[in-house]
């Protein structure tokens, strides 16, 4: 456990673009708070700009993007570049959900989004403990 003033890191969370699937991200936010992270929850239908503004304002360590509409190929490109433009040079970008339409091998899906500059990409069914473990490892290596 951490005391109130000390967090493991600040996470900006939200569901990107046209998407309204809220339950998964709410569960993750709850688990993150329990694990000692500070969570800035933006809710659903969040634009890239809103993610970046929130990350800048709160000096966040990571942006956790949820996308269940199958439209991530349209919605995700440019987020890394916009982060760099905004001076968020070493922010971690995680993406998870149902990312593409039709049947594509997971390795190809993962590569598509890793190439866009995401640090971690998750398929459906991954539970919060895995993400928390990865965050702890990634944020420790950053320091």
């Amino acid at each position: 456990m951490t005391d109130e003033n000390e967090t493991k890191g600040t996470m900006v969370t939200g569901v990107i673009g046209d998407d309204v699937h809220v339950v998964g991200i709410r569960i993750l936010e709850h688990a993150l708070r329990e694990a000692g992270f500070k969570v800035v929850a933006l809710g659903v239908q969040v634009s890239q700009e809103e993610f970046i503004d929130a990350a800048t304002e709160t000096n966040a360590d990571a942006i956790l993007v949820s996308s269940l509409s199958g439209h991530a190929q349209i919605l995700a490109p440019g987020l890394r570049e916009k982060c760099i433009e905004a001076g968020l040079n070493d922010i971690r970008l995680y993406l998870g959900g149902q990312l593409m339409i039709g049947k594509t091998a997971w390795e190809d899906v993962e590569k598509t989004f890793m190439d866009m500059g995401f640090n971690r990409v998750y398929p459906p069914g991954v539970l919060p403990p895995q993400i928390i473990k990865d965050l702890e490892a990634d944020l420790a290596s950053k320091k």
Binding site: D18, V20, V23, G24, G102, K103
Partner: protein, 480 residues
Amino acid sequence: MIDIRNKKIEEDVFFQEREQVLSEWPTGKEVDLDEAITFHKNLPPHKVWAKKMLDPRNRSETFAITGMGKTTLEQQIELLRYVQDEGQAELLATSVDSFTRVHKYDVVEKGLRESMETGQSRLNGLPVVHHGVNGIRKIIESVDLPVGTRYGAADPRLIDEISLAGGHTGCSGDGLYNFWNMNSKLPPETVLRNHQYVHRLIGYYEEHGVPITPACQGMYGGGIPSSLVMTALLTQMLMMAEQGVKHVMLHFTAQGNLAQDVGSARTLQKLSREYLDRFGHKDVVTILTTGLSLVGYPVELGSAFAAIAFNSIVAKLCGAQINDIRTVSEAMTIPTKEDIAITFRSAKVIVDFFKGQAIQVDPKNLEIESQMSEMETRMILDRVIELGDGDVAVGLIQAIQSGILDHPFATSPLVPCHVMGIKDKHGAVRYLNHGNLPFTKEILAFHKEKITEREKDLGKKMDYETVVNDLLAISRGVLV
């Protein structure tokens, strides 16, 4: 702020608003209401949703339905024909892509172009606005079953103008469902008003002898107590009827405890008739639809088929005419035509196994659940109506603000979300937190008792962790 009332929109006001709706995108100009009415009147009865469902031969049948939408017309026609022929479907759907639902028409344009160039669907559904009336007609003319639209949208006015004129005879949604489940920006007044427009449009078709059947769902999600879902649903049914809707699909969300689901469905049938009659809508007909809330869809194929089977059994037990299922691959991807066809086939086989056989739920528990759900629903619904001095729309706005009617997982930040459901040891959903719902001490004591029973089993107090576990239970292959 919009002044919302449960009053039929005046015809001149409706037609004035229509001009603005149809000017949102160039294809709006293709909509000619008189011509569309003629087109609908020429459809054979087996291609009209209401006529097929109300055919006496079909009244005790249970037909499966699920979402299905590709980007281009060719892909959509291929999909629907495949599901009709290989899936042996009785009803078909057009799922509208989610960029169209939020009016991002420029993004849709790009996605549609890329899909046409690559032959791959780039959008997660059919962009009905871009295809326009003439495009939609090609779909309707290519299949031999009724087709209904499926979408969640805070403002579906243009979607429905085009898809109904195109020949769809069923359609999606009510205002309240779309306010709390599909919207993060607009206040309830605006979302309800947008849907009043759609229902007024349907009312216009009905006045001219064309039956259109919208779905009425009220609220969607896992772990939501049935009285909450049913109250939301009944308010929307009344608002639809006021605008002239004559055929309503009552879409009840089941949670997996058979006594509670079937008992609640029984309550819903009873109260829907009672409240329609009370408000002077004796000629409105309802069609029961049930869908099992999965929350996390099962990823593994065996579990996904099992969920379809269970969903179908729930529908059969509830006496539902429509069995709303999730495609086997939906946890992982936007489904292919093969995924959808095999889903329909499996649901049909399960339902057919029950043909001519009577199955029933433990009558004692059924009676208890039926009574409890009725008592609770009446308490909330009557309070909503009272808040509005008899006007359900006025009452709703106040009820949403004050949490008299609340939602545990709303997407809208304007909802208190103080209410929380949790499963008891048998998988029935109880109120862990009743927020500001107007319940008596007796009702709260009943829920408390059921929750305490499970706490004893668990050896700990119920908390948010338990709620999360409940939400993920079905995807893990268990009910609790």
